[in-house]
Amino acid sequence: MMNREVNDITIEIDGKRVTVPEDTAILDAARRAGVYVPSLCSSDLVEPYGACRLCLVEVDDGSRTRLVTSCNFPVRKPLKVSTSSDRVKRNRKTVLEMMLARWPEVPLVKDLAGAEGLTGARYVHPNVDLNPNACVLCGLCVRICEQGIWEKIVNFSGRGVDRSIRMPYDSLQPHCVGCGACAEICPTGAIEMVDDPNRPYDAEMIRKAGMRITREMIKYDEQQCDMRGVGTAHLVEVMDAYDLLPVENYRFGRHEDTLKIESRVFREKYFSPGKPDGCWLGCTMSCAKAIEGYELKTGPYKGRKVLVDGPEYETVAGASNMGIFDPDFVVEYNFYCDTYGLDTISFSTLTAFVMECYKAGILDEEKTEGLKIPFGASDAAMELLHLIAQGRGFGRVAGKGIRYMKKYFVEHFGADPDFLQDIGMEAKGMEYSEYVTKESLAQQGGYGIALKGAQHDEAWLIFMDMVNKQIPTFEDKAEALHYFPMWRTWFGLCGLCKLPWNDIEPPDNAETDEPAKVPEHVKGYCEFFEGMTGEPQTMDSLVRMSEKVYNFQRVFNLRMGFGTRKHDVIPYRSMGPVTVEEYESRKERYDSQLEEQVGLDPRNMSTGEKLAALRKFREGQYEKLLDAVYKRRGWTDNGVPTVEKLSDLGVDFPEVMELVRKHGG
């Protein structure tokens, strides 16, 4: 992410020169210069507020000298700052004396006052509070709840000496999930967490682990993935940049019109600003986004203004996959898929398949019962969506998915089954999600071996494999295709969302041994599990939990007639270019691969010959990958978990053993 250009400004603090970006608060500049300024109501997690007035400094801007609170005074021009002039000291002392009079037993107040030479106040405050954990009205809890957690559970109430922090109506709020951020940030211990509805083994351990993520979300998300700002939609422009955004049924990986549907467009013109939309209360990532007041153009609710939940990356990329780059279309099909109970991934991928069949002449207006549906036909795509929901016309056929359509087009329209197998993007009967996998063998395996069908959520390895070149050998890829699916399965076992694991990262993640695994977060999940159950965990023990379930699921697939090697087959479109047009579009890349990886001289070959040679090579690679992954997982060559593996995992129930033995396991 490129940063906005900001000017650096040099100021002088107690004679020390320090250069900071424009708009840095004087307090932060002082810290950077190593100058101590007392403060109480400021924190790097929330906006400054200027409540306590402890951080007073004297500022000379060349024309006049004045006292300001340094936590919320931005540096915009060269200044001379004094943190300990007589005037500053006098005023700071007065502030501290008032605090000491009111909260004489709070250790923090005593310490701050002591540092200024004060041991007691010269007068008695009418509302003196002798509680050592008294609330000092700094408002940090109010701000972290509102700005960090995006809730308003705690707030100020009353005025003057009656001012205090309360929950509305002084009652427990159903919105409060007990995240503990307010208690964590409170400098005096005035907030105590008492309500542990799930009675976990160690609630504090869980809260601490959760708070670390919350802290990262508040501090780093905007510079990292901006999940709070635009959610997963930020991946649209990223995938386009790496030739990974599916365009026209995964034929291509980028398009010049992507900028019309990139996240900036949704942020600026569609998403309701500043409104968090988490999947559940208290999620600080809140990556789900909402669009309010969108006026529908089609279908049964045409003309109505509605609220649309989304769109996420997959939904936007589904549109480019249909060759459509119209943000209104994205919102409209997002709404109707949700309303009809359809999945935007399956709908867009199957429609992209229909469009390619139309382009190839396998379908025409007669066969689609009147739908003119080439790539990019947004009206026809919407029409098809309504027809699918109504079970009418061509929607009756398309709605049954790609696997069904392949068979149907062969039987009814005499289509070439091999071509349909190549371009029909499904595995195990489920449509592909929205990534181009041609240049990542590991990712092809990630889709093909996934238990539920062609989904990337067991293992997203494209960057590790294709860009970083971190997993060059079959063994490396197999290791990744062991670890990550097992790790991801663990989230499923615990009912947790995966996104806070690696869509936000601790600032020092780069310095860890295995940054790809985000070890600090794995540690947090171990603490989460231990805090719930009382059983200490390690990365290996969590993965072992998943391995048991994962292998059992594979056996379940076997029982249902899947679960062997032939079901891990993927369409060739996900391995490489199917058509001459695709090959020619990335000719340089493929030619050099033929030369370097296959050992052929592409100069004397026709595109047809080159396509065939590349295909033979890549299909061979995929088979070798399956061999390596099955071996790593303790499965037979046919992809069946072995008796030894299942015994080792303790999944050796009699029916399980009988079934795998029958399949040579």
């Binding site: 790496y242 997203w460 960057f463 995966k498 690696n502 780069a510």
Partner: protein, 65 residues
């Protein structure tokens, strides 16, 4: 000539990490950059010059799922 993630890339005196990120169109925000194994902090991408012949790793941290 330098190598970026194992692939050759042309070099000129003064070429910075930021130049490489722009040239390779690495738009993903979660990157780890190492020059000959040494970590470069994100704040320094614009001012860190890459020596000729360097092995540069630009690790994209979207992994696993």
């Amino acid at each position: 000539m330098i190598r970026v993630n194992g692939e050759p890339l042309s070099w000129h005196p003064g070429k910075t990490v930021e130049d490489v990120i722009r040239e390779k169109n690495y738009r993903f925000p979660l990157l780890i950059v190492r020059i000959n194994g040494r970590l470069v902090p994100r704040e320094d991408y614009g001012k860190t010059e890459i020596p000729d012949g360097a092995e540069v790793d630009v690790i994209h941290l979207m992994s696993g799922g």
